[in-house]
């Protein structure tokens, strides 16, 4: 062992400054022991990178699933009965491909890019799920909700905020994934579905705020 032995790892990892590197390399030309040690250290780092991963000896999933269930399991959000009733109506409308809007919220029909199916009903106004129209619709509903917010009970507001956070996260993740893979039609469907959910939720709660007013 000499003064350079303890610096061999730093040399291997390119962490010596230029002067130290030159000195050590000069030393290596004369020191067989250090050259051997350096080769052995290279073997160790290669072996570390080549370590294989393998399955554990037993399946750990049952224990994980049990602990998740014991802690409350699913992250479903609970709604009150009026909210569940409104959600049921909204889901029926959405599953038919139609977008249902309250007559009081007169949203202008937008440009044709991604229109939902129109139902023959004066209350039904198609909402384009492309960015500008969708953003306008969401902003309008959020303004309406703010006006009527004081009429809603705190638990409803809590559920609303948690639900919106979850949907916004899904929208954000879809948009990020689409940025990396713009031709992915599954992701477009996923994004459209998340936006529809957000619209439906905002309409539902806006309607509740109006009813309770």
């Amino acid at each position: 062992m000499d003064q350079w032995t303890d610096r061999l790892s730093e040399y291997l990892d390119n962490e010596l400054d230029a002067g130290e590197r030159r000195e050590l390399e000069a030393h290596l030309t004369a020191c067989a022991s250090c050259r051997t040690t350096l080769d052995e250290l290279r073997d160790v780092t290669s072996r570390a990178k080549a370590m294989n991963d393998r399955q554990p000896d037993m399946d750990l999933w049952p224990g994980i699933e049990q602990r998740i269930a014991a802690a409350g399991g699913s992250r479903r959000y609970s709604f009150s009965l009026p909210q569940l009733a409104a959600a049921g109506i909204a889901l029926m409308v959405l599953s038919g491909g139609a977008v249902w809007m309250l007559r009081q919220q007169a949203i202008q029909p937008a440009a044709p890019a991604t229109q939902a199916t129109v139902v023959d009903n004066p209350s039904v106004v198609p909402v384009n799920l492309a960015d500008a129209s969708y953003d306008e619709a969401v902003a309008d509903l959020q303004r309406t909700l703010e006006v009527g917010r004081a009429r809603l009970d705190p638990e409803t507001i809590k559920v609303l905020e948690a639900s919106l956070a979850s949907i916004d996260q899904a929208i954000d993740q879809s948009q990020r994934a689409l940025a990396a893979d713009p031709a992915n039609t599954y992701l477009y469907g996923h994004l459209a579905a998340a936006r529809q959910r957000k619209l439906a939720l905002l309409r539902r709660v806006s309607a509740l705020a109006d009813i309770e007013g």
Binding site: L41, V44, D53, R54, P56, S74, R75
Partner: protein, 190 residues
């Protein structure tokens, strides 16, 4: 010397992209409470996570720690923003959970033999030439500090300043521990 970037073992670039896409969908579903999607994430990532735990923890409580990591991942999925790949997020969470357990068991760990003498004693036990201590078994025998730094740096690819933050040591100490680990392990490759 630059460290060469490597793909996950056994995966081609295309397979890696497909795995990445599947992860993103399952993460989104699992974050909304889909347990089946989370199980798919578990099955895809348990070999790597179990490996991280096995190597850092030196073979102790590995299965329990691996379960802790996935339970914590389930709880924290809502905080995953997608700025890094899910794999990166999960591996960092795994390292943090293991280190938390180490800190919690601080007194017990200090009683564990942490001297090189034990390592040297094991090495000097006569063996048949055709047998050798498996590299991973040799890793388990390293003193705790040296093993942690070696796994984080040479196996997981952390830099010394990152290791310093994780372990509460200086980058200089991290470098010294790394060299110590490598010097001890080289004897098992002869």
């Amino acid at each position: 010397m630059l460290q060469q970037e490597t793909l996950p073992i056994g995966l081609t670039a295309l397979e890696s992209k497909r795995a990445f896409d599947r992860d993103e969908m399952d993460v989104s579903r699992a974050a909304r409470g889909d347990v089946q999607a989370f199980e798919r994430l578990y099955r895809a990532h348990i070999p790597r996570v179990h490996g991280i735990v096995r190597r850092m923890a030196g073979g102790k409580d590995v299965d329990e720690l691996a379960q802790d990591i996935f339970v914590r991942a389930w709880q924290k999925l809502g905080t995953f923003r997608g700025e890094a790949a899910f794999t990166t997020w999960l591996h960092r969470l795994a390292v943090n959970v293991v280190l938390e357990r180490f800190r919690a068991g601080g007194a017990e760990r200090s009683r564990r033999v942490a001297s090189e003498a034990v390592f040297e004693t094991a090495r000097s036990t006569p063996m048949r030439p055709e047998l050798s201590i498996d590299f991973e078994a040799a890793l388990e025998r390293l003193p705790d500090g040296a093993r942690e730094v070696f796994v984080l740096h040479d196996v997981e690819g952390y830099k010394h300043h990152e290791i310093g933050s994780l372990l509460g040591i200086s980058p200089g100490t991290s470098k010294a521990q790394l060299h110590r680990a490598r010097m001890m392990l080289r004897k098992h490759l002869r």
